[in-house]
Symmetry: C3
Subunit: 292 residues, 3 copies
């Protein structure tokens, strides 16, 4: 049937990302790149290297999913229109006199609009990745989840890896692994949901799910940006899940594990500094153990 | 003909790895992972990251050989049965109350049994890798050797690389390259032997070779575990080989090379600390050279 | 028509690289490897690892282009003749008594001849890479440029990456990215030119272009080796280009960007130490920002 709701969601799920949403995605990614200390200096000193970094920031998720599926990581270079778009935005952002773009981007409404549109592209990437992975592995639902996750949130991994090679050694990059960012958590959740929908385990049509998930993404992102909180929404959900899966051992677990039990019990997301501290402690321990 | 010996080896070479030997392999790999400092804390703080690390430890060799042959590194995720098996073992090992598994694993007989069965899987992996590589490159015997080696002993390389990305920076990881572990040495030897057998340069049937090589692997591994020595068996073999190939120059070689000649003359394996010390010296030298 | 000039260039463009030019390429690459501190010691201590490093130095560009096109990185191992050639040269260079090869190589004419022949192989690699990439992506000229570049000058990236994994951590490796070496600059230029020729945007026959570009490469390389300058020829070209593309903003750019503007205005290549210093400053800045 064609209720107005179905018509709306169907029309929404058919909107093309190309001109405007991609621009928003490139704009947000490249502004985040420019915020990195030294990025502007690199752009002035060696534009070629800066351009490569910009491309990695714009197309990192696609590159990672290509690597994971053994496809040419350079495929994104064959899409000349998007490359031209991203390159021109990179050029404008980094070499515009008086930093006009940064000036304009510093207004909150612009940031909200761009971030919201970027979140929309995330849904499309997840769905595209799952469909793509399904063309390789029929009912390989684990592969579908990972590919959808990689294409949706793999950019950070690629850029961290690139900075590791470049020599900007930052041990904070392990935080990306030890404690997933809110974006990667939400993308993983969406990838799981869309995979279940794709394998017909969820009785909901794809365009409805895309609409609802996008609404969820945009609203949470904008609320997070307005109420400058890093990660709020998933903490209770994580708590229940971690309690359900790993919590019941905590009564039995020996006292020496109690210390690690605390952070996971009061929310994986809400304690950012502690895990890193622990990890560095562990690294220290290891090094001392190795050296002695 | 079907002598009892042939029947035995044939039956042995047809045993399936799936339920029990794979379990032993996962058990040994994951216990080694849990022994790493900080691994248990990571499992409590971020189960997803710990699960990925566990999968890398269980399927690292296959992933590496997939990468080297440009196949999807995620293929191992399509084999749901093994993933489920490894995941459940990971769950039991890391989240079992009172650490019952670690308690039971701490008994020497259990460790010996598990380690012996893990060595059996090594033979199967080498043979599988060589057959797989041969399907790509007819008489590309170098590729066959490398793929057999990668699938048999590539797990350590993958896990070292993963720790490097994660930010656990440990310069000891170069030891894995500078001085190969006993496992990688023995796997390389087996890969060479099985490749020669596969290219009909060795007049021995494959099931006999598999039986003998497995016996050799298991016995050496168990003797090494009982007589807690790290590497014994190959030292004389290496000596003769290194003398044969590189030794004859040592009479002529100039005095400044004499210093490096010493360790290789008394066994590559038997001097673990010296190479690292030298290497770090070299690194220091390089850095000073670069800076001045 | 067949003017003598055309005959000459056609005959030149048909010369096979195999026996002699490849030998020169392996010789130059492996001598550069031996010059690295600690390389000789590694060769004596662990020949297998040293052999792998040597292969990476000899075939790095091909490996990188294979990875970028999702082809088996091990394909170069299937070409047994070149492997045998490179291995024997590696053996002679590293294990020849009295270092006879290094002695002979220390004469300037020998170095000039070998370096000149190595530059000839660079042209062949670029053309081969572009033709290969074109077989994948019709009129994907960006991919063609990158593949030609990777095959021509990707060896340094592969070897840097290998040293990074091995644990020889050298922050100078970022210089390879921040400030491209002269070789990579010239290879990028050639890759662009040959791609335009291949897409019929340059009205010059391929064999003429190959001849002229090779002459340019060899002459600049030899002049650079004689007048021990690191990079001279491209500085003015880069200046004009960077002025044309990014220079016009420098009048408008705010005073705080003036500081970064200076180095790019007086030649990207001619200030080697400054970028690194800046970068390390930036890294420091980042770390302080992160920690506070």
């Amino acid at each position: 049937m064609d209720s107005p709701w179905d018509e709306l969601t169907l029309a929404f799920s058919r909107t093309s990302m190309f001109p405007f949403f991609d621009i928003a995605h490139y704009l947000v990614s490249l502004m985040a790149l420019k915020r990195q200390p030294g990025a502007a200096a690199v752009a002035w000193k060696n534009p070629v290297s800066s351009w490569f970094t910009a491309m990695l920031h714009c197309f990192g998720g696609g590159i990672l999913s290509c690597i994971l599926l053994a496809e040419p990581p350079l495929r994104f270079l064959a899409n000349h229109t998007n490359i031209l778009l991203a390159s021109s935005i990179w050029y404008i952002i980094f070499f515009c006199p008086y930093d006009l773009v940064s000036q304009g981007y510093s207004f909150l409404p612009v940031q909200l609009l761009a971030a919201g549109m970027k979140e929309v592209t995330r849904t499309w990437k997840i769905v595209g990745g799952i469909t793509h992975a399904n063309s390789y592995y029929k009912n390989g639902w684990l592969v579908m989840i990972v590919i959808g996750w990689a294409r949706g949130a793999g950019g950070t991994i690629v850029t961290n890896f690139e900075q590791l090679i470049k020599g900007y050694w930052k041990p904070e990059s392990e935080e990306e692994w030890l404690k997933m960012t809110y974006a990667s958590k939400v993308t993983l959740l969406g990838s799981v949901i869309f995979t279940f929908q794709h394998t017909k385990h969820l009785a909901i049509s794809k365009h409805n799910l895309m609409f609802l998930y996008t609404i969820f993404l945009v609203t949470t992102k904008i609320t997070m940006m307005i109420t400058e909180t890093s990660t709020v929404t998933l903490a209770p959900f994580e708590d229940t899940l971690s309690r359900m899966l790993f919590g019941w051992q905590q009564q039995f677990s020996s006292f020496e594990k109690k210390s690690e039990t605390k952070p996971s019990s009061n929310g994986t997301g809400s304690s950012a500094s502690k895990p890193v501290a622990d990890a560095s402690d562990n690294v220290k321990k290891k090094h001392t153990k190795k050296t002695e």
